[in-house]
């Protein structure tokens, strides 16, 4: 019965969590040597399906059968699936920041004789694997010193070391800029030509369209269809239609900007790196935001956008050197996060798990956590009624997919966690909301909703700053876009004059021009 062209067949897979049917009778077939994409909304069950496949959820915790190379598989853990040649790279990277590239690559799989690690062999092997993924870095560099894009490559190199036949990548490009993404996709193409089969999950549909041979669409835990891209006729709109069940007219909701007075301005903003005092992460930056305006910030990875925003947000990053801030016509000095929140500034962090969420909390407690005083009495007693009402309100507004607001945020899918973080800041009712990569890992439908929320916020006269690595997103959303390069603001373009080329040019010029 085994078809030699089929490397993997998952039959009738069902998996439940308390209160959630994550997968219901899912069928999934992957042909040998292809790149097979999985698409679906946040919480559709994509990651769960891959965790079932790779033994993260061991045999017995799900229903259905997995046939790999024609054999029925009953993986009891990740080791077992890796042994069979299936390697998964998770949605969130699993590297240890303090260890070197080589140490990370061989952790749990050390090149050792009777427990003593052979460093020469390890580093040589690491160098060879890094060359295969096209990464020119010294294997002894600590992992925290290289960017996310390169870290992603290290993960793949690590997989190659394990003799991978079926490589699973769960949203590998979510945190990457376009150049790094392109590089990664090229690498995947290279792997395919060497006979390695890839399964890739992504919300970036243009990439899927560019690389996938087939696409399986999952909605609400069920397989909707499998599209054959090579046969032609598949484009982004077609994928979206499968994902959300209807076609999406445009990617951005209608919005007529009502721009008012300038109400927020910083000038001469200069900040030192927290550990290396002679390195400036913000160099003499000046910009302003008007009421009702959506201001975009474009820059390459590591250009200093996040650093600038965090430093504005109550000096929460680096050592503040100089600069002034004016809010509503008055000079202010907001040197702590609580002062910034009080003054009406909100900041949605770029990294939700490390900086945005307490994973022990529920949806409810997270929603109110940045402005507890709003639902507490003067003596500091939390009104649980008000808390519940607020959390429910934002759950409905943002259409967060969760069984209830009492549910732990750690159990939500990535995109829904992002919505909870957003709810937490909307709850503070900020005058100026800074959003750092607000749609990372978010599906097309939810993106549309989040854009709508941002626009409504602006329409109500608030100022919004959006930092994003996706230029189409910035171009579609912003009224004005600043560019940053190496810690300095290099330009400011109006909606009308901005396009991918003009932005790219400014994002890579190091000499500051006046806006």
């Amino acid at each position: 019965m085994a078809d030699p062209d089929v490397i993997l067949e998952m039959r009738d897979i069902s998996k439940s969590f308390p209160g959630v049917k994550a997968l219901q009778h899912v069928n999934f077939t992957v042909k040998r040597g292809e790149v097979h994409a999985i698409c679906g909304e946040n919480g559709a069950g994509k990651s769960t399906l891959m965790k079932v496949l790779s033994g993260v959820w061991p045999h017995g915790t799900y229903e259905g059968d997995i046939y790999y190379n024609g054999d029925l598989c009953t993986f009891k853990d990740i080791r077992a699936s890796e042994h069979a040649g299936i390697v998964i790279i998770h949605q969130e990277l699993a590297l240890i920041p303090e260890l070197s590239i080589a140490e990370n690559m061989f952790i749990g799989n050390e090149n050792a004789k009777s427990g003593v690690i052979d460093w020469v062999a390890t580093n040589n092997k690491a160098r060879e694997l890094l060359a295969r993924v096209g990464l020119r870095e010294d294997p002894e560099t600590p992992i925290k010193n290289i960017g996310v894009g390169k870290q992603q490559l290290v993960e793949i190199a690590k997989a190659l070391n394990k003799d991978v036949q079926l490589l699973i990548l769960d949203e590998p490009t979510a945190a990457l800029n376009e150049e790094d993404s392109r590089h990664l996709l090229d690498l995947i193409r290279g792997l395919r030509s060497k006979g390695i089969t890839c399964v890739i999950i992504s919300h970036k549909l243009n990439e899927i369209e560019a690389i996938a041979n087939s696409i399986t669409i999952i909605r609400d835990g069920q397989t909707v269809e499998t599209l054959d891209v090579d046969a032609g006729g598949v484009n982004e709109d077609r994928i979206i239609k499968g994902m959300v069940g209807r076609s999406l007219e445009s990617r951005f909701p209608d919005h007529t900007p009502k721009i008012g007075e300038k109400f927020f301005e910083i000038s001469g903003w200069t900040v030192q790196h927290p550990q290396v005092p002679d390195r400036l992460v913000c160099k003499n930056s000046s910009f302003f935001v008007r009421q009702g305006e959506i201001v975009g910030f474009a820059g390459l990875m590591g250009a200093g956008r996040t650093e600038l925003m965090r430093s504005i947000f109550g000096h929460s990053y680096g050592n503040f050197v100089s600069g002034s801030m004016v809010l509503d016509g008055k000079p202010v000095k907001l040197d702590s996060v609580s002062k910034a929140i009080e003054a009406g500034i909100g900041y949605v962090t770029e990294d939700r798990k490390v900086l945005g969420l307490n994973l022990l909390d529920s949806v409810k407690t997270t929603t109110v956590s940045a402005e507890l005083t709003k639902i507490a009495s003067r003596l500091g007693v939390v009104d649980r009624h008000a808390e519940f009402v607020a959390a429910e309100d934002y759950r409905k507004q943002l259409r967060t997919k969760t069984p209830s607001v009492e549910y732990g945020v750690s159990k939500l899918s990535g995109g829904n966690q992002q919505k909870v973080v957003l709810a937490k800041w909307l709850f503070t009712d900020p005058e100026l909301l800074i959003l750092d990569e607000p749609t990372r890992g978010i599906d097309v439908g939810a993106k549309y909703e989040i854009y709508g929320i941002i626009q409504r916020l602006a329409e109500s006269g608030k100022g919004v700053i959006v930092v994003s690595s996706e230029l189409p997103e910035l171009l579609g959303l912003s009224d004005r876009i600043y560019t940053i390069c190496e810690g300095a603001i290099t330009g400011c373009l109006d909606k009308r004059e901005a396009n991918q080329e003009s932005l790219m040019r400014l994002m890579t010029t190091t000499t500051a021009k006046s806006a």
Binding site: P58, I96, L359, S369, G408
Partner: protein, 426 residues
């Protein structure tokens, strides 16, 4: 079984704890031929452990915030001797002396909180130093002598509710207190249910509520009746009342107030808390300071019970308090734990101690058994957490494939950068 779990607060952890406590009591009741649940013995268990339980209240907050306090025994001793000397040498009236003691505790707490919160030295180190410093201080102030305390003062450690009203063969005040507590619990439960229904939150089945209320009320009334039936002159110990009041206050603070939420937030994810406007340093300072104040109170309660302050008071208390907290379900990595859970954990240890003593088991075996109980309880916890949060060790090992395989490590294991793991541990 599911219904049964719901009755005991839904989560398996709490259920297991209460179940273990009841089983332990029944076991010793049988093994000691009924000595365990004799009035005098129950009173004795409360009186003899109230100060450890007071420490556990402070300790659980410290541990939730991601710290630890090793100095509590020494702080208790230092405060005990200061108070005893103040009464003897400066003839402070004893109520003033209690305030004085709390003041000294606050001062010590401010000292330790300063180093932990504002200098950033791990609490493990600060309080290890404090353990030496305040032990030394106790012996320096008291010249290693024992200093007695007056009778009025002894009440907070060895006093009972007075006998008032008609002779009923029971201590009337104790009975009244029992009824009052039960009434308050019933009232509170129904009010919560009504509020939940009003806002459309999930309300547990009426049957479950009634069953739980019935069990809790019966347990409280039985315990109170038991203590009320003790020898004339003995009844509900005052130290037990102090403890109960503290449990209510701190239980409320930890679950219902902004400060309480912030303590959990700091322990759960310090970076995220900071970026949500939580003044993390202030929280660190507060929990450390609060711990030392409670240690001061515990020290005074102990001195009151033993009628004098000595150079070896409070040796090893930190370990009992920490054990109570961990048996009570707190996580080493912070962010998890409850005041009530720690009380149950403390009572498990207390009943165990008491039962073994009644049977005349030596200190050697008692220690071995207690150690094993601690280990088993936490092992059970770690096992349970394969459903939830990974243990500290699980996190440190998270990159090893076999560990990633445990479901718990899949998404959660990646949340904290390593530096944070190290920090929360210390």
């Amino acid at each position: 079984m599911d219904k049964l779990k719901q009755v005991f607060g839904g989560d398996t952890r709490q259920f297991g704890m209460i179940f273990a406590l009841v089983a332990l009591i029944l076991f010793f009741q049988w093994w000691t031929g009924g000595l365990t649940l004799k009035a005098d013995n129950v009173i004795n268990i409360f009186q003899g452990n109230a100060y450890i339980l007071v420490l556990a209240i402070g300790m659980v907050l410290v541990i939730i915030a991601g710290h630890i306090d090793l100095s509590v025994g020494s702080v208790a001793a230092a405060v005990g001797i200061s108070v005893a000397m103040a009464i003897r040498d400066w003839s402070l009236p004893w109520p003033v002396a209690i305030l004085f003691g709390l003041g000294v505790g606050a001062l010590i707490g401010a000292w330790q909180g300063f180093w932990v919160a504002y200098v950033g030295i791990p609490a493990f180190i600060v309080t290890l130093a404090g353990m030496l410093i305040f032990r030394g201080l106790n012996q320096y102030i008291g010249k290693s002598n024992t200093v007695p305390v007056p009778e009025g003062f002894q009440k907070i450690g060895a006093g009972y509710l007075p006998e008032v009203g008609p002779n009923t063969d029971y201590n009337n005040l104790t009975l009244l207190l029992g009824f009052a507590i039960v009434a308050a619990i019933i009232f509170g439960t129904f009010r919560t249910r009504r509020n939940q229904a009003k806002i459309g939150a999930t309300v547990e089945p009426m049957l479950v509520t009634l069953l739980r209320l019935g069990l809790i009320s019966a347990a409280i009334l039985a315990a109170m009746a038991l203590m009320a039936s003790g020898r004339p002159g003995t009844s509900m110990p005052l130290s037990g009342i102090i403890l109960a009041v503290l449990v209510i206050i701190y239980g409320f603070i930890s679950t219902r107030t902004v400060v309480g939420r912030h303590i959990y937030a700091v322990g759960g994810n310090r970076h995220a808390a900071e970026l949500s406007g939580v003044k993390t340093k202030k929280i660190d300072f507060l929990v450390m300071m609060n711990m030392s104040m409670l240690a001061a109170l515990a020290g005074m309660m102990f001195v009151a019970r033993s009628t004098s302050s000595g150079p070896f008071d409070g040796v090893g208390w930190e370990l009992d308090a920490i054990a109570a907290v961990f048996i009570g379900g707190a996580a080493v990595s912070g962010g998890v734990g409850t005041v009530v859970g720690s009380m149950i954990g403390g009572l498990v240890m207390a009943v165990l101690n008491n039962g073994l003593q009644l049977k005349g088991i030596g200190a050697d075996m008692t220690q071995i058994i207690k150690g094993l109980v601690l280990l088993t309880a936490v092992a059970f916890d770690v096992f349970q957490k394969s459903q939830g949060r990974p243990s500290l060790i699980g996190r440190l090992m998270r990159n090893k494939p076999q560990d990633v395989a445990a479901p718990a490590q899949t998404d959660l294991g990646r949340e904290a950068p390593v530096d944070q793991v190290v920090r929360t541990e210390s």
